[in-house]
Symmetry: C2
Subunit: 629 residues, 2 copies
């Protein structure tokens, strides 16, 4: 993707599957909240949708300024860190990391809902199917299957086409006098309480907060400016505008049809007079079914395209999350295993981490879009607000060093747009926090500061270690005064002979062999063999009342070190090595544990003396077996 | 549990929670199959239940003989291996391992079904709750929370009491003229096809096969004979008879009430005229609700007791599986990590393995009892049949060396009972295989031979390795002709100084330092520092075009070895060691990978030179820092 520059027609599907796909559930989320007030309050959806359209226009306009200002890519982390400092940057990073996880969970679960709406018999397997899709995406990304632009273009344009086709059908049929109703239009919708006055306002605000999911993913283009063909910034800004146009038109159209068709949805099927646990089709599925009337293949087409673009949207997070994690790891805020240095293996850790977190969410929230979406919007608006606020600061700085009047005017204009964007998204963030807090957003409100603190702690840890490892300019390598060699022995076989031979060759001040007695009979046999093979070093036998191996060895080595703290103790561990990891897995796990514990013991060097078995030698290239092996 | 011997009243709940709890779902499984034929065929449940009662009596009688013959415990693996040879023993072991997993999955899922039947709003969370319970049991068993006899006695006797109380209520109310009907009695039951002639017989056999779940867990007592108070065998046999009596009476009673109350259940709610995905209460819950009529607290009590005994039954597998795995590992059929040597840590592997397999099943089969039960019964009857057949052989051998007439007569009688048992269970095994194969049993029919072959392969591997490691009696430890020391260096810090100092002290024929160049500027700085610190050994710089670390190092070490195959190359890896595993996790992962790869390279010794950071030193007991550290 980074190699060749992208024309607008390919960049749109690559960067916009996430924001475009969110229209598949945004309308439904609005209706679900308003449904709590019964049929009487459904008309509020008109106002809520209008507010969301306005917000979408403002945010798109605001991000267009970022495209111009950051031709090298202006993600929320970069913009915040350059303009607002490390605290804001880390806050944005926490929000983004949480959001990537939620993008995967929400998109996959919504995709599965599109499938089960077309095939209701699969409704029982929503959790299994969702987990399956996440695993599939994980495997594809681990294997490095890179989608071509076309692989993105098909589902994205296919979805847009399907939705517009649906609008066309609806328009023609209604213009010719048909009255179209959704299958749920006649279901009763019982209010869950008495809503009046301020409660109505709060409900409308909560519905608005839910509908704001339509905005998720808008920032992707501003992040990907460097991937566009020249003029990069202008092309990116144009693509962003196109995306905004498509999003607004699809969201508005779907909402209008939902209202006209009288789609009734409810979080709990009993509110609709259905039995407990009854499966409901999604609002979009009901609209598509009603719009196409008898044309069932088109209905199935829309469902398939919806599922495809949603799964694709999840896939974008599989690229974004490891990338951001890598940047954070480079800045030493995350473990260095997440820092990607051209080595695919390292990139994998991020992919697996993302998948596990998303699977956890899917299982805990039982593959319910509505439940997971409560967590989604906080992080999105935290990063929106920080990013826009950062842009206001950015223009302020630019203004300070620009004298030219025309350019200053343009900058003032951009700054004003970003200021409006920051204000709007900031207000929405407050609304979301207030209305969603008890419905699940509190989880994110807890998780984000924890992530923030964890990243701070990781950074502090790396800084401390770096300081501790520093040496003064006059420091010189110093050999230890004495070296005492200890060979670990369990029985006499080829690796033991090799280890004893090697230990005797390093000119240590003393050499001894060490065994742990589990069964006195076995130990007596070992002693007899020890003499017979003329091992040439004394055999020390340690008692182990609890049949443990590690503890007596560690205690003995510690006591040697305590006798003369200026010496080192070199422990030789004979090991046998197999050709394949699964053979290896059948052996030596206790040796591995013991070696790890020895590393934690002061004054100890640990030497592994590997003995390659036939399978390992064959793999190593079947070299002739010398004394060195 | 092994320390104090168990009186019968405690042994019954400890060993019998599994077989007693299975009556909670056995009746329902029969009705679910017969429901496929519609209301017309439901009356077949009478015959099917009668056959199962007969089978239960035969199997209990047969296992009583095992209690007498194997006072040290006669599990299917032990009996098969002593009487039928290793092939049969491994077959039994495969069956038992699979069954332990299924016991956990089925019992937990059935326990959750008991809960969701009392609280239908939780029905959507069956998968999450089931996985949660498995995790809870895993944690309890990992932490080594051992249940006292009382902890077992409460749920088990509580369940039996609840069921009998339910019978009493039903009897009194019906005797006083009430007509009791289940809530589902009026739901229509649509046949899924036309059942006539042979199809009816096959359906009845399939229902019988499903109902045989009532027998699962019967063998537990024969396994636990040594835990009984003296006379062990007689007490065990008596307890087994008591268990049989309880099982038969509860199963028969529940089935009678299900028929009288006209409980209608179906695998697919649409067969009952309910919408897709509607949650159904379990048959037992319907019976309890109907029996107790207005006495709702008693209904909730029965559901709670049912859930409790089922979760307890799952817990027994958490003891049995690691125990059997340990025995198999001792016989070298399973990886030695599963062999339990008084070390709890090792036991844990079995617990985690069992939990992961059970969770996998629960997710794949969406926490549906009926779906998982299709896999359950094959393994049970494989081990039953092998165990009973083994007993027939056992008595044959005993007869051959006994002259006394009275004892011979008793043996003949036991042999006859076991022969009947083996014949019956063998026939049932065939019925189960035929009727259940396409419904899921094929998975077990594939899994068992795979396990069998895997265990054979593990044994063969261990035998091969043992032969390869053997040394001839005249073998002596031989030092390598030359030792070339190589110190890995990335930058100059305290661990590097320590490693170079140590490497220079072991009297190797040559010492050099090795670094991989990622950035030429960094390398130049390293060289300058190298001179300034008078390291005293030459610094070799390796190029790495792909920014890899491991490969250039491995290639260089290989080339050294190829130059003189009779030498050894000792690679010194400076490492820094933290006080806690999570700190350690933030470092050194690439060093660990490199060390592992070096072990696989012929002619290489790997010496870790640990440098303990402050946190590690504090943990190691804050000893004074000497040169040895």
């Amino acid at each position: 993707m980074g190699q060749t520059l992208l024309p607008k027609r390919l960049a749109l599907p690559i960067f916009c599957s996430d924001p475009l796909s969110s229209v598949a559930y945004a309308t439904e989320e609005i209706l679900l909240i308003l449904a709590l007030g019964g049929i009487a309050l459904l008309h509020l959806a008109w106002y809520v949708a209008a507010a969301i359209v306005l917000l979408l226009v403002v945010v798109v306009a605001s991000y267009r300024q970022t495209c111009h200002a950051y031709p090298n890519g202006g993600g929320a982390y970069v913009v915040s860190s350059e303009n607002l400092g490390q605290g804001a940057a880390l806050t944005a990073a926490s929000a983004l990391l949480v959001d990537y996880v939620l993008t995967v969970a929400v998109s996959v679960v919504a995709g599965v809902a599109a499938i089960t709406s077309a095939a209701p018999t699969l409704a029982d397997h929503a959790v299994g199917m969702s987990v399956g899709f996440v695993c599939l995406l994980t495997l594809m990304n681990l294997r490095g299957v890179r989608e071509s632009g076309k692989a993105f273009a098909f589902p994205t344009y296919g979805f847009v086409l399907g939705i517009y086709l649906m609008f066309a059908f609806a328009a023609v049929r209604m213009a010719t006098g048909s009255t179209i109703r959704a299958e749920s239009a006649d279901l009763p919708l019982h209010a869950t309480g008495d809503y009046a006055g301020i409660a109505v306002l709060l409900l409308a605000l909560r519905a608005f907060a839910s509908g704001c999911t339509a905005l998720t993913g808008v920032e992707a283009i501003s992040n990907g400016v460097p991937a566009f063909t020249r003029p990069k910034s202008r092309n990116a800004a144009t693509t962003l505008a196109m995306m905004g146009l498509l999003s607004v038109s699809m969201f508005a159209g779907i909402t209008v049809l939902a209202m006209v068709y009288r789609v009734h949805v409810a979080g709990d099927p009993t509110e609709l007079g259905l039995p407990v646990g009854a499966a409901e089709p999604t609002a979009l599925a009901q609209i598509a079914k009603a719009s196409f009337g008898g044309a069932a293949p088109l209905f199935y087409y829309v469902q398939a395209a919806t599922a495809a673009i949603l799964i694709l949207a999840a896939n974008t997070a599989f690229n974004g999350f490891p990338m951001l994690a890598s940047i954070l790891a480079q800045d030493r805020y995350l473990p260095r295993q997440l820092h990607h240095r051209g080595d695919r293996l390292v990139f994998s850790n991020g992919i697996v981490l993302l998948a596990l977190a998303a699977i956890g969410l899917i299982i805990v929230f039982d593959a319910k879009v509505t439940a997971i979406i409560q967590l989604y919007i906080v992080g999105v608006f935290v990063s929106f607000t920080l990013s826009q606020a950062g842009m206001v600061r950015h223009w302020q700085r630019e203004l300070a060093r620009t004298g030219e009047r025309a350019r200053r005017l343009r900058m003032r204009r951009s700054q004003a747009i970003n200021a409006i964007g920051a204000t709007f998204t900031g207000i929405v963030l407050v609304i979301v926090l207030i209305t969603k807090f008890t419905h699940g957003a509190y989880i994110v409100v807890i998780a984000m500061p924890l992530l923030f603190l964890a990243m701070k702690a990781v950074r502090r840890h790396y800084d401390t270690v770096a300081r501790e490892l520093e040496v003064l300019p006059y420091a010189r390598p110093e050999p230890p005064s004495n070296n005492r060699a200890v060979v670990l022995v369990s029985r006499i076989h080829a690796p033991t002979l090799r280890a004893v031979g090697y230990a005797r060759s390093i000119h240590a001040e003393s050499v001894e062999a060490l065994t742990v007695q589990i069964d006195p009979e076995e130990t007596r046999a070992l002693r007899r063999e020890w003499e017979a093979h003329e091992m040439g070093v004394p055999l020390v036998v340690l008692d182990s009342p609890y049949r443990e191996i590690s503890r007596p060895v560690i205690d003995y080595v510690r006591s040697l070190h305590r006798e003369s703290p200026r010496d080192v103790v070199t422990v030789f561990v004979p090991e046998y090595v197999m050709g394949s990891w699964w053979e290896q897995l059948l052996h030596n796990q206790s040796a591995l544990r013991l070696k790890t514990r020895l590393l934690f013991t002061p004054g100890v060097m640990v030497t592994s003396v590997p003995y390659l078995l036939r399978s390992a030698r064959e793999q190593a290239g079947a070299e002739p077996r010398g004394a060195g092996e």
